[in-house]
Symmetry: none
Subunit: 241 residues, 2 copies
Amino acid sequence: MNPLNEFVQIVLVETSHPGNIGSVARAMKNMGLSRLALINPKKFPHDEATALAGNAVDVLEQAQVFSSIEEAVKNSKIIFATSARERTIEWPVASAKDAAQEINQLAAENIEVSILFGREDRGLTNEELQLSNKHLIIPADPEYPVLNIAMSTQVVCYELYQASHNEPIGPWQDFPEYTSQELQHLIEHFNETVFKLDLIDPKNPKQILTRMERMFRRLYPDQMEGNFLRGFLKAVNNKIK
Amino acid sequence: MNPLNEFVQIVLVETSHPGNIGSVARAMKNMGLSRLALINPKKFPHDEATALAGNAVDVLEQAQVFSSIEEAVKNSKIIFATSARERTIEWPVASAKDAAQEINQLAAENIEVSILFGREDRGLTNEELQLSNKHLIIPADPEYPVLNIAMSTQVVCYELYQASHNEPIGPWQDFPEYTSQELQHLIEHFNETVFKLDLIDPKNPKQILTRMERMFRRLYPDQMEGNFLRGFLKAVNNKIK
């Protein structure tokens, strides 16, 4: 089986128009993908979805419906969120093309990836965007950069297909990927240590920690690196006591 | 004016569903294009076209309607025809990406180009395909390679935008990039701290530090992150003394 199809999940968040869900199913199948997750779709199943799916009705039939993003992505190690360009807190971003190459590489290493697509009218919330490791941006004309959701999915799936038809460059990791839970623990351990070292301005504790969290999530540490950093933090804490 | 917008015309041949015409208009405007020609559209103008055009109603309003392809393309020197892969007569072909690069070059030389998109149900006839200089093929899964017409247009317009905009996405950094010298100092500071914390196996000191150096170099910290990590290391060293 194509690793992209096996390890990549397309996640549509609170889609309003069932026709868009059908169009997404077709766009996915055109590019060899089939794993579709729907978070609280307004109308599904629906005749319009079926009509627009064309020969991709099987993708619709296999689609999984969830009541939260967290539940849908719980097996994914890496989460990309599609986003328009401007945000208050900047997050690591990748163009559709660069993201596709990265995702292709991850899938080749059997790492599950979810790609989130937001609502038709207002995309993803800031909270949803911050669930992700990286934001995926489709380059577009700044005068009108907002693509229809099915179109966004088409471009991303197209780039995934393009990426998988080039040989991926061999894994840079010598050790297995750190899991998202391990990464979470590392971040918490770092935060605790930072507090003990009195490095945080109590007037504005959140901003710097959010930025450092973002940095760790951008890092994708492997097991060796993550474990060494945990050992480092443990040794630091022993000195503080 | 953007030469692609000036010299590239998107031509839809006998489109049945007015919604598709609207979606094409939006896909074009998202990618900075506006010249749309319609050959014998079944229903146009039409509310569905307007609804799906979003903020690209101006593209619809400026669309020109023709009764033949020949008439629509009479000012174009080069014609691309989008096509599925298999044809009885072989014709020069280009992938969407390669075609976009070629078209971008032609537009930069003020050469007018038309790109033909066929009917929803059966594409372009062999005669129509033979009007073109080259066939444009969107790479897709051989099991179901037929994209919806609006999706095809989106992919082609996206590749045109990519071809004319090589600047990288980002930067995601809020702060300036850490210089390589600053990064070197950070790595040395980390290494010293690691030695003081007795975390290195003296039998094999080099390997782990090389790996951690690689990790820091992969991180591309910005000034804020790098400075915070330096402050963190300084605080740790104060505890050790």
